[in-house]
């Protein structure tokens, strides 16, 4: 088995059209139930059990059997918050196999998932390609598309999870700071992206005007879209809308970033199936073609990246994704950029110039009609803020919008193309999808 794919990552400027544009398609997707955390007793609701369900649901959605899958891709590195021993001390008690270690409970290895599919009676018996090393779904979707385009796999099952565990963790305890933390923790910054994005957001407000409260229409609309997403965390567990007063009186963590500006960690899993456009023609679902994918990875040049950095990086990202797809901003119908913190989503909105939004214009845009039924249905997924920190709602929504199956979230404007990605301006992956094999 091989574990690498040519043409990945796509970091460079001027790469032109993606060499596999329109020759790879998404033909299935699936997701699990969603919980805030595992309850410690329900073995059918562990992160591993959720991920197996998502994989099986994707296979069923595509009208395939597990034996049709010849490529498998996952992120073994803990994507969400796992039961990190460094925070918790001794390992917690485990159970009978397959839950005799952390594997399957708060993180999942490729081997655990593959064995799990066999246990479930849906063995992935024809795998020729396994890639277990993806960072996060933004990069993973691009690499999955590239692997199919490069011929590494013909039908590739890609899966991703985000987990959450109880309590407070990743603390800086004691009186000493070592490693990279010595440059931040003494002054109170403990490696969370929150402070980085709060700083860039402040620079944004200084440069263009506005304030934290100008994010209110966006954050409220994210929750609204999330409540229109039946499987989402809030639709499932806290099915009520937040108000402007809630937003303006929220608890701040690191001003200007508050609790409602931050996504809510959850237990959830997702899967997607990629195949060749040729094979997709005769499959159950209408093919959704991959027109382009790009990635970004930028070292921070000093303690903090700046607004100038974020604008430069996201401009490059948008330019390269459009170029790979042969598209222009006006060709992009559905746009689901990342919103792990509400404070940085405008970086993507303005870089992609979606619906003509230029640098410094996001607050005015947010104040307009961004509802899904309106003319500018921004982030129709509800994102992480509306659905919980799945990092995948932007993918499920994009597929559903392009299939015309988004239900109450189905937009009234044209929905033939979509772009989405995650995570932050400094490190991310994005993908461009279309119901047509070319623009």
């Amino acid at each position: 088995m091989t574990s690498s794919a040519g043409g990945f990552p796509r970091y460079a400027e001027g790469m032109g059209l993606w060499e596999h544009r329109g020759k790879v398609a998404v033909v299935g997707y699936g997701y699990s139930d969603i919980d805030r955390r595992w309850d410690g007793v329900s073995m059918d609701r562990t992160l591993g059990a959720f991920q197996l369900a998502a994989m099986q649901n994707a296979i069923a959605d595509a009208g395939l059997t597990a034996a049709d899958i010849d490529g498998f891709m996952c992120s073994e590195a803990m994507a969400g918050d796992s039961w990190a021993q460094e925070d918790r001390g001794d390992p917690r008690p485990y159970f009978d196999p397959p839950y005799d270690s952390e594997d399957g409970l708060s993180l999942t290895s490729a081997d655990w998932l593959i064995a799990g599919m066999e246990r479930e009676g849906t063995p992935l018996s024809n795998l020729q390609y396994i890639d277990r090393n993806q960072l996060a779904i933004g990069q993973e979707t691009g690499k999955a598309a590239q692997a199919v385009g490069d011929g590494q796999a013909n039908v590739l099952l890609m899966t991703y999870n985000m987990g959450n565990v109880p309590g407070r963790y990743k603390l800086e305890e004691g009186i000493y700071s070592e490693g990279g933390r010595k440059w931040s923790a003494p002054w109170g910054w403990m490696t969370s992206a929150m402070m980085q994005h709060a700083f860039v957001f402040m620079q944004y407000c200084t440069k263009y005007g506005g304030s934290h409260d100008d994010l209110a229409p966006f954050v409220l609309n994210q929750r609204r879209n999330g409540l229109l997403t039946p499987w989402g965390y809030y639709a499932q567990h806290e099915p009520y809308q937040i108000t402007l007063e809630d937003y303006l009186t929220q608890r701040y963590i690191c001003w200007p970033n508050g609790l409602l500006d931050s996504d809510r960690p959850v237990n959830h899993a997702f899967a997607m199936i990629f195949t060749t456009a040729e094979r997709a023609r005769d499959m159950k679902q209408k093919p959704i073609y991959v027109l382009s994918h790009v990635q970004a990875s930028h070292p921070t040049r000093s303690t903090m990246a700046t607004l100038e950095d974020h604008e430069e990086w996201t401009d490059s990202l948008a330019r390269r994704l459009y170029e790979g797809a042969g598209a222009k901003p006006e060709d992009l119908d559905i746009f689901n950029p990342y919103d792990g913190f509400a404070l940085f989503t405008q970086s993507y909105l303005e870089a992609f110039q979606w619906h003509g939004v230029k640098r410094g214009e996001s607050f005015d845009f947010y104040a307009g009609d961004i509802r899904v039924e309106g003319p500018h249905p921004f982030n129709s997924s509800g994102g992480n803020l509306g659905c919980g920190r799945t990092r995948t709602a932007m993918y499920t929504d994009s597929i559903e919008q392009l299939r015309g199956t988004a239900g109450a979230r189905q937009v009234n404007v044209r929905a033939e193309t979509a772009a989405m990605g995650q995570v932050t301006p400094g490190g991310n992956g994005h993908i461009f999808l279309s119901v047509h094999p070319e623009i």
Binding site: E172, Y176, A185, W187, G188, T300, R301
Partner: protein, 136 residues
Amino acid sequence: MPKTIPVADELDKPFWDGVNEKKLVLQYCTACERLQYPIKANCVHCDTKDPLDWKEVEGKGHILETLVVHDTRVVRLKGDVPFNVSIISLDEDPSINFLANLPGTPVTEAPQGAAVEVVFEELEPGRFIHDWKVVE
């Protein structure tokens, strides 16, 4: 505020030695003639393989922005919330930025754009850390 105490390693020892002598000594890339902070193994600006040099800077800067921490993962600082965390640009190279708690400046009263100068706070005997203070 009882800051946590940085533990120097082989790479950044010259920096912390400088701080302990109340000097701000940054990395300096002789290939691209750029300063660098925080301390890293390689130049973040160019692809030189040459080892980075060291250069003392004057320690004057300006406040870019100020955040207010209301909740922190740094256990030692939990009793001090809310507190300022300002981002300071170095006058000698504004692309270099530092964190600062602005000792003496009340929370929410940090003057954006104000001039600051480096100060050194003794955390335990002989071990200092740099912070930045508004110039009156």
